[in-house]
């Protein structure tokens, strides 16, 4: 029995080892490594089915629809539920839809989907096909025709650049953190407001969470989050104004192409390959119209554009119609810059609004007789005041201002006077993006000595060795909006609005407010037009406004373009601009503020390779004003060839 006792101890020790082993393993599985287990279980036992949210609609300022949603019939296939003869079924489906079976297969084999998910294989399916498929339901197990929401454009191509397009989320966006809650088949805004306000428009997907068992059968619904529709955008943009602006722009470009301009080098028919128009409310910063030419049809993006359509949309030979010339490209502003130069010169004591300046055909900077700066006209206009210099757009007067700014720089290269002109121009918003609510805005350029130095280092072959430092010509050219300076039409509209509204630099905005699906305003987009940020007195601004009023009057550079226009009813303050851009034809500009006493509109027109400001841009602006005020002067007018 003693032996049994000691042998029982052996048994007890063995059992103790068993418990030690089990407890250790249990501790490892349950306490040290449980997180991954819980995750795996969640993955295998929960299934989610998304319910798409309705994308927000876009309305104009009077709540007329610009972008709506419509239902497109989509054929969806669930791979899991295909019948026993899946191949044969897909072949029959391919026959019915007229889509190659290979393409259908490719969609179904997509590894980004689960086999229990239904995948769209055809869009905008004909109703007859839909009926056929529903009638022969038993022949097509796993195939369904479902209505899916797509964008609808009741006004066709109207405001295409502003509205933008939506498309299936791209590979670059899928990996983007901002889109982490998007599915691989989701639509996202690609351009324009659709992109800018993606988060507002998209709403929140609804989601049903199912608990499934080991056979993937649904055990019960674990939870349901209803889809929250996206907010609607109500724009500052006015459909009527937009229609007038687009019509005027395309009419104007078409007309410009019939003009032979012998002032161009070499003399030729104007190409007028592109243009842009902005109508802005200077009191609010609201964009009433924004047009860019050439334009495109956003409805092409409802389905994926074909290869041919993509070439048209992005190809260079078609003029890159997707580009918004009003905000995404910058050009030399030419003489439209002069009002800002005049104000800067007055502020810094370089010009005096009461003094007179000579306006010879040529200007030579003292000490550099080899470079001759010409006026736009060969006539000697004598000694004139600043307002006349603006009215007749005398370059040589402004050359002197530019030269004086250069002298101030030269005398104080490291001090506060070095970039007086640049600082003043930047106060008007030039050189930085306007932060308008449209994507991919460019900032243009206000060159200064530091910039030129860096530019010379980065592009040593562009500038001659003796041109690589800041020269008198740089300030002189900038004074007439030439040289390295570039601006976007939008920047010019914002700067003119600041003159029009008494010195307030607005943040332009296309959207006025958001509204929830019930129609209640949820957020208002402000132009911040209530802060006076510019250092000019009302008298100085009035002086410039007054001077610009004469531009459209007899003797002014836009007098031909506004011949016969009832200026007594609607006084128009404006400024022409002709920017040279060799080897291309001149860029034509016109900026207008009206009615001049109390401006309600600022209109900027730009025509690339459009000749003089008066030639193509001014007539376009006139046509827009006539449209706004219901004045009929019988079509496009000839503006002549004045700056």
């Amino acid at each position: 029995m003693e032996r049994s006792t000691s042998r029982l101890k052996v048994l007890a020790i063995l059992v103790a080892f068993m418990f030690a082993a089990l407890t250790t393993r249990l501790w490892f599985l349950q306490v040290l490594a449980p997180a991954s287990a819980r995750e795996s279980i969640d993955r295998q036992s929960a299934r989610f089915v998304d319910k798409d949210a309705t994308r927000g609609r876009i309305y104009d300022d009077r709540h007329r629809p610009l972008v709506l949603n419509r239902i497109s019939l989509e054929v969806r296939v669930t791979k899991d539920q295909l019948g026993d003869d899946a191949e044969g079924e897909l072949l029959r489906l391919s026959d019915v839809l007229g889509i190659p079976v290979k393409e259908i297969r490719r969609g179904l084999d997509d590894k980004d989907y689960y086999d229990y998910q239904s995948k769209p294989v055809a869009y905008d399916v004909d109703k007859n096909i839909s009926f056929y498929l529903s009638e022969h339901e038993d022949e097509f197990p796993g195939v369904e025709v479902v209505p899916a929401a797509v964008r609808d454009y009741p006004n066709g191509t109207m405001a295409a650049h502003v509205l933008g397009v939506v498309g299936q989320i791209g590979a670059d966006e899928i990996v983007d953190k901002r889109y982490k809650d998007y599915g691989v088949n989701d639509l996202v805004g690609k351009t324009g407001l659709e992109k800018q306000y993606e988060r507002v428009l998209v709403g929140r997907k609804g989601r049903q969470k199912y608990l499934v068992n080991s056979n993937q059968e649904i055990v019960r619904v674990l939870g349901e989050e209803p889809a929250v529709p996206g907010s609607n955008l109500v724009l500052a943009l006015d459909l009527d104004t937009q229609r007038i602006a687009e019509q005027a722009l395309s009419d104007g470009i078409e007309h410009t192409r019939t003009l032979f301009d012998d002032t161009q080098d070499p003399p030729a028919y104007l190409k007028a390959n592109s243009g842009a128009v902005i109508v802005m409310d200077p009191t609010t910063g609201g964009i009433k119209a924004l047009a860019s030419w050439p334009t495109f049809d956003p409805s092409w993006f409802v389905r994926s554009p074909s290869k041919k359509q993509l070439e048209t949309l992005y190809g260079e030979h078609s003029g890159s119609p997707m580009l918004d010339r009003a905000t995404q490209l910058s050009f030399a502003p030419g003489s439209t810059f002069k009002p800002f130069i005049a104000l800067a010169a007055e502020q810094h004591g370089i010009a005096n609004f009461g003094s007179y300046y000579s306006c010879p055909p040529e200007y030579v900077y003292p000490g550099d007789t080899t470079t001759v700066f010409h006026n736009w006209t060969t006539a000697n206009l004598g000694t004139i005041s600043v307002d006349t210099a603006l009215k007749v757009s005398c370059d040589t007067v402004f050359y002197q201002f530019g030269a004086d700014f250069y002298d101030r720089y030269n005398a104080d290269q490291l001090g506060p006077d070095a970039t007086l002109l640049q600082d003043s121009l930047q106060q008007f918003g030039f050189g930085t993006a306007t932060k308008l609510d449209l994507p991919l805005e460019t900032s243009g350029l206000i060159p200064d000595p530091t910039w030129k130095e860096e530019f010379a280092i980065e592009h040593p072959d562009v500038l001659l060795p003796d041109e690589q430092s800041w020269l008198p010509g740089d300030d002189i050219q900038m004074a007439i909006g030439q040289g390295f300076v570039t601006v976007t039409p939008m920047q010019l509209a914002v700067a003119y609005s600041a003159i029009a509204n008494g010195g307030k630099l607005c943040r332009p905005h296309v959207v006025d407010h958001f509204e929830d699906p019930a129609g209640d305003t949820t957020h208002t987009v402000s132009g911040h037009c209530n802060k006076r940020t510019l250092p000019y007195s009302q008298a100085e601004l009035d002086y410039v406004m007054n001077a610009l009023t004469k531009v459209t009057q007899p003797g002014g550079t836009a007098s031909t373009a506004f011949a016969g226009f009832p200026l007594s009813e609607v006084p128009v303050a404006g400024k022409t601009g002709t920017a040279q851009r060799p080897p291309f034809q001149d860029t034509s500009w016109f900026a207008a503020m009206l009615p001049a006493g109390n401006p309600q509109y600022v209109i900027v027109a730009m025509v690339e390779q459009g000749g003089h400001g008066s030639t193509s841009a001014a007539p376009i602006v006139r046509q827009i004003i006539e449209g706004l005020y219901g004045i009929d002067s019988g079509g496009v007018v000839d503006g002549g060839s004045t700056d």
Binding site: M1, R3, S4, T5, R7, L8, V10, L11, A12, L14, V15, M18, F19, A21, L22, T23, R25, L26, W27, L29, Q30, V31, A33, P34, S36, A37, R38, S40, I41, D42, Q44, S45, L211, V212, N213, S214, N215, V219
Partner: protein, 380 residues
């Protein structure tokens, strides 16, 4: 005074006064854990089928009541009575094991022929073969004249044991065979078998098992289930699936568990055979480490009581019976929980008192009854 004292003494010696409350409480606790776990793992599936969600629980409770009655009956009869009839019981059990192989009498499921079916109940003779073997070996060894078994005794024991082992093995039921082997080894060790005899026995077993593998006596799927845990990457999907799901369920429990009826794995049928062989996953997932460790502690207590009773027994027969029961419970607990935790091969061994199954329940209560019996009559 003497008379009074004598009567007092006699009454103190009455077996009923020497129940082992710890043993009883432990078996009761394990049975309750079992019933709760069976409900948790089956009610949803049964509901989905439109059946009574408590049907398994009801059957288990019925088996439990029957088991308690059996325990009471076994405990009342002096255990030495079983020593006398051990041979008869053993032969009867072996006959049952033979009968269950006869087509038309025994029932078949999952390719195995294991039980008798009558009146809605199943009787699995291999469960009772364990008890019969314990009694038989204890009876044989307690009748030895020598202080320790001679080689001839060991051989006799082996020959007797091999009969039910082979019958169970060809059903095929490898799990129960392992339990039978553990019982033989356990009793032989406690009976004082010499180490070199034990060693020789072990070597012989290894040779025999290798031969069995070589001669394809064991089915491929059985080999795979047995070896799958050693090499999870190369085992078949089905084998891996059971193991993976069980480990996931255990892991999901964490320290405190997901709460009773709150286990995802448990409620969604991801763990196969959950109410029988994988019942421990329910405990692990819903009560966490704390609950699982508590159940292990209950088993430890139970086995400790069995070993203690073996030690306290007044005669070798009682010692060996209790040692056999201790071995049986320990190996079943270890292989079953080890399988769930992924450190032992997958074999169909139920967890004593916890797993669903009437025959196992009855056999376990029978074993508990024997333990209690030895405990109650430990005074000479």
């Amino acid at each position: 005074m003497d008379l009074v004292a004598g009567r007092t003494f006699a009454s103190e010696r009455r077996p009923i006064r020497h129940l082992d409350p710890v043993l009883l409480i432990t078996t009761a606790a394990l049975s309750i854990v079992g019933i709760l776990s069976i409900y948790s793992s089956t009610h949803r599936g049964l509901e989905a089928l439109g059946e009574d969600p408590t049907i398994y629980v009801k059957k288990q409770v019925a088996a439990l009541i029957l088991g308690i009655l059996l325990l009471l009956v076994i405990a009342t009869v002096d255990y030495r009575f079983f020593k006398v009839y051990a041979g008869f019981i053993f032969v009867a059990t072996v006959l049952m094991l033979v009968l269950v192989r006869v087509p038309g009498i025994g029932s078949t499921a999952n390719g195995a022929q294991r039980w008798f079916q009558f009146a809605g109940f199943q009787l699995t003779p291999s469960e009772f073969a364990k008890i019969a073997l314990i009694l038989m070996l204890a009876a044989m060894l307690s009748e030895l004249r020598t202080s320790e078994p001679m080689l001839s005794d060991v051989l006799r024991i082996c020959i007797v044991s091999v009969i039910p082992m082979m019958l169970v093995f060809i059903q095929p039921d490898i799990g129960t065979t392992i339990v039978l082997v553990a019982i033989v080894v356990g009793i032989l060790v406690v009976a004082g078998t010499r180490s070199r005899h034990l060693l020789a026995l072990a070597l012989t077993s290894i040779v025999l098992v290798s031969l069995a593998f070589q001669l394809n006596v064991i089915q491929d799927y059985q080999i795979q289930r047995l070896t799958g845990f050693l090499d999870p990457q190369n085992s078949t999907d089905a084998t891996n699936y059971n193991r993976k799901q069980a480990e996931l369920a255990i892991g999901a429990g964490g320290l405190f568990g997901s709460g009773y009826l709150g286990g995802t794995q448990t409620n969604l049928d991801f763990v196969p055979e959950q109410h029988t062989d994988f019942i421990f996953t329910v405990v692990g997932e819903e009560f966490g480490f704390v609950g699982a460790a508590f159940v292990l502690m209950l088993f430890a207590t139970l086995i400790w009581r069995a070993i203690r009773i073996s030690y306290l027994s007044k005669d070798p027969f009682g010692t060996y019976v209790a040692a056999g029961v201790a071995s049986m419970l320990a190996i079943q607990m270890f292989v079953n929980v080890g399988m769930v935790l992924g450190i032992m091969p997958i074999t169909g061994i139920p967890l004593p008192f916890v797993s669903y199954g009437g025959s196992a329940m009855l056999a376990n209560f029978l074993a508990a009854g024997l333990l209690l019996n030895v405990h109650m009559r430990r005074f000479k």
